[in-house]
C-alpha cells in the first residue's frame, strides 16, 4: 500500500469535482451561476479540474444587477476570455424596464431582492434544469440544512420540509418538468477553506477583495461604498477609507470592512482572527433572524 498525501483541501476539491461531474451526467441543460465573487471563481477552477481538456458541459450565467463594482465586470470578462467558455447575462435592468419588478425606494434601496425574478426568468428562458451555485453551509443557519442537490419548484421555491434525504455520495437529480435543481458543490467548505484553496491554486481575484482606498459612508453601523447606486442624502458623510470587501454583491448592499490586507496571506490571517462572519457584511441578511430562510423559499440563490 503506497501512502499519499490527501489533505482536507484535496478532499473538498475531489468532492466538488465529483458533484460537478454528476451534474454533467444527470442533466440536459445545466448552468453555472457566476457572480464574480470568490466562491463562483472557485467553482470555475473546480470545473476546469473536472472537465479539462474538454469544454464545460454548461455555460456561465451572470445575473447582473447593473449595480456592479466595475472591477468585477472587468474581471468577469477577462476570465471568460481566458477560459473560452460561454457567458449568458441575465439583466435586472431589463426586468425593471419590462415592468416585471419595481425598483426599491428609500435610503436602504437595493437591487439584491430583485435578482430573484431575473434569475427565474433566465432559468425559464434557457430552460436550465440545474443551476450550480457557490453557496456554502457555513454561511448561515438555513443553508446549514440545505442539500447539495436542492430541488426548486416551478416558482423557484425551496421547501425545507420536503427536502430529499441525501445519502453517501449519491445525488438524486430526477425532477419533474418545470422544476430545477440548485447544486452546491462547495457546500462543505468554509470561508477559510475557500481562501486557503485560492492561495494554494494561485487563483486571481477581483481587486476589490484586497485593501484599497475608497469613498465610503456609514449605514446601519456598516461601511458602504459611496456610489450613484446608493440613495444618499445630506446626513450621509463621505469619508475616504482604507477598505476591502469580503463578499462581492450588489454595490448597494455589500458592506466593506476596514482593512490593510493587500495579500491573500493577510486576508487569511485577518479572517482567522476575525470576529465578524462573512454574511455579517451583508445588510440584507440582517433584516430578521429568518431572513435567509424566507429568501430561499422565494427562489433566491
Amino acid at each position: 500500500m503506497s501512502t499519499y498525501n490527501f489533505d482536507y483541501l484535496d478532499e473538498l476539491e475531489a468532492e466538488a469535482i465529483h458533484i460537478l461531474r454528476e451534474v454533467a451526467g444527470q442533466f440536459e441543460k445545466p448552468a453555472l451561476l457566476f457572480s464574480g465573487g470568490k466562491d463562483s471563481i472557485t467553482l470555475v477552477r473546480l470545473a476546469e479540474k473536472a472537465f479539462r481538456p474538454g469544454k464545460f458541459p454548461f455555460p456561465l450565467v451572470h445575473i447582473d444587477t447593473g449595480h456592479n463594482f466595475e472591477e468585477t465586470i472587468t474581471y468577469r470578462d477577462q476570465m471568460v476570455e481566458r477560459i473560452g467558455e460561454k457567458l449568458i447575462i441575465g439583466s435586472v435592468q431589463e426586468s425593471i424596464d419590462q415592468g416585471k419588478v419595481v425598483e426599491q425606494t428609500g435610503k436602504n434601496a437595493s437591487r439584491n431582492a430583485l435578482q430573484t425574478v431575473t434569475l427565474l426568468d433566465t432559468i425559464a428562458k434557457y430552460q436550465f434544469d440545474a443551476c450550480i451555485g457557490g453557496a456554502r453551509r457555513d454561511e448561515e443557519k438555513a443553508r446549514a440544512k440545505e442539500r447539495i442537490f436542492s430541488v426548486r419548484d416551478e416558482f423557484g421555491q425551496w421547501d425545507p420540509k420536503r427536502q430529499r434525504p441525501e445519502l453517501w455520495n449519491i445525488y438524486n437529480g430526477k425532477i419533474h418538468k418545470g422544476e430545477n435543481i440548485r447544486v452546491f458543490p462547495i457546500s462543505n467548505w468554509t470561508e477559510l477553506d475557500v481562501w486557503n484553496y485560492i492561495r494554494r491554486e494561485k487563483i486571481d481575484l477581483p481587486s476589490i477583495y484586497f485593501s484599497h482606498e475608497r469613498d465610503c459612508i456609514t449605514r446601519n453601523g456598516q461601511l458602504m461604498a459611496a456610489s450613484p447606486f446608493l440613495n444618499m442624502d445630506d446626513e450621509d458623510v463621505v469619508e475616504r477609507k482604507q477598505v476591502r470587501f469580503r463578499t462581492v454583491g450588489d454595490m448597494s448592499c455589500t458592506a466593506a470592512v476596514e482593512s490593510d490586507a493587500t495579500l491573500i496571506d493577510d486576508i487569511i490571517s485577518e479572517i482567522s482572527d476575525s470576529k465578524i462572519s462573512e454574511r455579517g457584511a451583508r445588510l440584507d441578511d440582517k433584516v430578521s433572524e429568518a431572513a435567509m430562510e424566507d429568501r430561499k423559499k422565494g427562489g433566491y440563490f
Binding site: 434525504p165 438524486n172 429568518a290
Partner: protein, 416 residues
C-alpha cells in the same frame, strides 16, 4: 490536516445541541455576529447563561418548536483537523434523518443521559450506527454534573453499554464522562472527575484514525463522464472521469470494465495538469485505457484481480424514507453510484424493531421502517458488500412518480 466527519444523534433532552454548541463555542468557532444574535435571543439557560443549543437549530419551524427536524451540517477546525458534524434529531420519527446523517460519517457520538443510563433510544441510535457501518463510536455519558460526577454511576452505565456494543458488533467504542452544559471533558479535561484517566472529547476527535486513506484492495471507479474534447489536436482523446471509491489504481494495472466484462490496462492517469502514477480512494481523476473499449456513464472500472459481485438479485437492508409506504407491486429506480436502473422489492424478509432489536415478519414497509429485503434489478449491479466497501455497497431508491428518494439500501449478499 485532514477531515473527520462525525455524526451525533440525540434528543433535545440529552443535551446534544448543547454538546455541539459547546464544541463550537469552546473552539472559538462562533463569530461575533452569531454570538450577538445568540445573546439577543430570548432563550437562556436557567442561570441566565447563553443557551448554546440555539447555535444548531437552523430553520424557523425548529426554533419555534425547539426541536431539530432535519440534518444540519456544522463545521469547525482546530490546529489538527477540520471537522464536519452531521447533527440529527434523535426521536424515532426522524430515523430517516439519522440514517442520512450517519451515511457520510466515519465516527458517531452516542449521548447517554447519566441520570437515565442506557434507554430505548440508546439502543435505537446504536443500531443505526451499526447498520450504517460507522467505524468509531464515542459514547458520551452526559450530564455528569447532575449525578455529582459519580464514577460508580458512570461505570454502571458503561457496563450496560458494553453488552449492547457486543450484541451490535460495534468494535471500536470509547467512553467519555462529560457535562456539555458545564464544559467538563469537552475541550478541557475536567477538574471534577479525577477518576477519569482518558482524554477530553475534542482531544480524542483530533487524533482518532480516519478512514480517509482507504487500504482496501478493491479498486473501484464508477465512470461519471467521458471527456472527449473532439478538437483537432485532441482528436483521439477519450478519458474516463470519475472518483475512485476505494482502493488504488496504478499505471499498467490490469482492469475490468463492468458490466461488459471487457479487459484493459491503465495507460494514463490524469488530474488536471498532472499525470500521477496512481489514483487513490477519494480522488477525482481521469483514467485512460490502452484498449479501445466501449465505456459510458454508469459503467465501473475495477481492478481485474479483485472483482465485485454481479447480480440482479440482491439481499439488502432497507430504510424506508417516504411518507408513502413501499409498494412491492411497482417499479422503482435504484441509483448505485453513477448507475441507474429499474428495480422491484421482490420480498420483505423481516423488519427490525429498532427499539428492541427484535426481528419480525412484515407485509408492509412504512416511513422510518428498517429491515431486510430482496431486491430485483433490471440490469445487474456490480457491487461489494456494504461491510467490505461502504461506497460500493450502498444505493438509494427513487420513486419514479414523485422523484423522491424513498429508500436507503445497504447490500448484504448476492442471491444465487
Amino acid at each position: 490536516m485532514n477531515i473527520l466527519k462525525f455524526f451525533t444523534a440525540g434528543s433535545v433532552d440529552d443535551g446534544k445541541s448543547t454538546l455541539i454548541g459547546r464544541l463550537l463555542y469552546d473552539t472559538d468557532s462562533i463569530l461575533a455576529d452569531q454570538l450577538e444574535a445568540l445573546q439577543s435571543s430570548n432563550r437562556k439557560n436557567d442561570d441566565g447563561t447563553i443557551d448554546l443549543a440555539i447555535l444548531t437549530d437552523g430553520l424557523r419551524a425548529e426554533r419555534e418548536q425547539g426541536i431539530t427536524i432535519d440534518v444540519a451540517y456544522k463545521y469547525f477546525q482546530t490546529e489538527k483537523r477540520k471537522f464536519i458534524i452531521a447533527d440529527t434529531p434523535g426521536h424515532i420519527q426522524y430515523t430517516r434523518n439519522m440514517v442520512t446523517g450517519a451515511s457520510t460519517a466515519n465516527l458517531a457520538i452516542i449521548l447517554i443521559d447519566a441520570r437515565n443510563g442506557v434507554v430505548e433510544q440508546t439502543i435505537r441510535h446504536s443500531y443505526i450506527v451499526s447498520l450504517l457501518g460507522i467505524k468509531h463510536v464515542v459514547v458520551c455519558i452526559n450530564k455528569m454534573d447532575m449525578v455529582d460526577y459519580s464514577e460508580t454511576a458512570y461505570n454502571a452505565i458503561i457496563e450496560k453499554y458494553k453488552v449492547l456494543a457486543q450484541q451490535l458488533k460495534l468494535a471500536d467504542v470509547t467512553y467519555i464522562p462529560v457535562s456539555a452544559l458545564k464544559g467538563d471533558n469537552i475541550v478541557q479535561t475536567s477538574q471534577n472527575m479525577d477518576w477519569y484517566e482518558g482524554e477530553s472529547l475534542l482531544h480524542f476527535l483530533e487524533k482518532v484514525d480516519t478512514d480517509n486513506l482507504d487500504k482496501s484492495q478493491l479498486a473501484r471507479m464508477p465512470v461519471q463522464w467521458v471527456v472527449r474534447p473532439q478538437t483537432e489536436e485532441l482528436h483521439d482523446y477519450r478519458g474516463y472521469a470519475g472518483r475512485v471509491l476505494s482502493g488504488t489504481f496504478n499505471l499498467n494495472d490490469k482492469v475490468t470494465v463492468l458490466p461488459s466484462g471487457a479487459s484493459s490496462t491503465i495507460e494514463k492517469i490524469e488530474f488536471f495538469d498532472q499525470a500521477p502514477a496512481a489514483a487513490h480512494a477519494g480522488q477525482s481523476v481521469i483514467i485512460h485505457l490502452k484498449d479501445d473499449v466501449d465505456i459510458s456513464r454508469g459503467d465501473t472500472i475495477v481492478n481485474a484481480s479483485a472483482l465485485p459481485q454481479e447480480s440482479k438479485l440482491i439481499e439488502a437492508d432497507l430504510c424506508w424514507m417516504d411518507t408513502r409506504a413501499l409498494d412491492t407491486s411497482i417499479m422503482y429506480n435504484i441509483q448505485h453510484n453513477s448507475k441507474i436502473t429499474r428495480c422491484k422489492i421482490s420480498e420483505i424478509l423481516h423488519k427490525v424493531d429498532i427499539n428492541t432489536l427484535e426481528k419480525h415478519a412484515a407485509e408492509e414497509f412504512k416511513l422510518n421502517d428498517i429491515g431486510r429485503v430482496i431486491i430485483k434489478t433490471a440490469d445487474a449491479l456490480a457491487f461489494d458488500l456494504y461491510d467490505d466497501n461502504r461506497a460500493n455497497g450502498s444505493a438509494i431508491l427513487v420513486d419514479t412518480r414523485t422523484n423522491l428518494t424513498v429508500g436507503a439500501l445497504m447490500f448484504r449478499a448476492a442471491v444465487e
